[in-house]
């Protein structure tokens, strides 16, 4: 079905756009190459690109077979999401997935992030209860809440940031009747009592050492 759309004018335009983009990209890469060579000469830093270049992975635009007149912006968003979706974490944010596979409000989540892109060995981790999920394509984010030294800390992570190493659900919540659990700030209930916090910390520690 995708090959059939090749004859479509939109398909042609998109492929030609893709080709033009690729041409400009090779030119940009050449400039980046000379820039990085200059960096090499001055600071002797190896393998540092001056900026992150997206890898073009799609020869054909990601059009679904049922879309007769595809929307270009939708396809571009879909492609940027597919490009950013390393290790398949988009499965956590699919709305219609099974309850046990997708990220829900109320789950205990362990997140590991790189501290910088140049040194991928240094990581920091954060565990917490997911109190909100914002599904916005590539800008998908979620908020984790935890008590650290008796102070509540909330961190909002961008799911497809290249600094995110991995996202793991360590405890599934029983179905909450809400999508946003902001009431936990005033009424923590059993979620943030000492016993629950200790259990969270223990399972986070075991997840951290697992990989």
């Amino acid at each position: 079905p995708r090959n059939m759309l090749c004859g479509n004018t939109l398909g042609q335009r998109l492929t030609s756009l893709g080709a033009a983009f690729q041409h400009r990209l090779t030119a940009a890469r050449a400039i980046a190459g000379t820039a990085s060579r200059q960096i090499h000469q001055s600071t002797f830093v190896r393998d540092v690109q001056p900026y992150i270049l997206p890898k073009i992975q799609f020869d054909q635009p990601l059009v679904k077979p049922e879309e007769k007149r595809p929307n270009v912006m939708k396809i571009i968003e879909r492609e940027s999401l597919a490009r950013a979706d390393v290790d398949g974490r988009s499965k956590l944010f699919v709305r219609r997935a099974h309850f046990k596979n997708r990220l829900c409000a109320g789950d205990v989540v362990f997140v590991e992030t790189f501290n910088s892109m140049s040194d991928t060995s240094a990581t920091s981790s954060f565990t917490g209860v997911c109190i909100a999920i914002y599904r916005r394509g590539v800008d998908t984010s979620f908020i984790l809440r935890n008590m650290v030294l008796n102070v509540g800390v909330e961190v909002r992570f961008m799911a497809y940031s290249p600094l995110m190493k991995r996202i793991e659900i360590i405890q599934k919540a029983k179905k909450s009747k809400r999508a946003k659990l902001f009431y936990l700030r005033e009424n923590p209930g059993r979620t943030f009592q000492l016993k629950a916090l200790k259990k969270m910390a223990k399972s986070a520690a075991s997840t951290a050492t697992k990989k």
Partner: protein, 130 residues
Amino acid sequence: MIQLKSRLNVIDNSGALVAECIKVLRNARAANIGDEIVVAVKKARPISEKTSSSLSAAKIRKGDVRRAVIVRTRKEIRRPDGRYVRFDDNACVLLNNQQQPLGSRILGLVAAELRFKNWVKIVSLAPRVV
């Protein structure tokens, strides 16, 4: 976003407990984590005869006016990679005129922004940095 009249918890062992912002030392209305402010101490730990005789760090009384640096805010702050961090309260650490912490210990969590704003001593004293 701490501005005039904002109350902050003081999380060092200087003796103050609650401080109120009376001046933001920036050409702006509100201050964020890592900014210096002038505070008036609203609540302090009682100073008994015993403690006043010992050479403790500093004797902060209610009504003292001191400088402070903000270490936690309830307003979320943005990190360069798009992350946002928010704490459940506003907290500060009292400083002397040489921008050194008045207390000798920090009793709580501080934000990592302090490291990038050159509050090295506070970050090293803090038990936990997020």
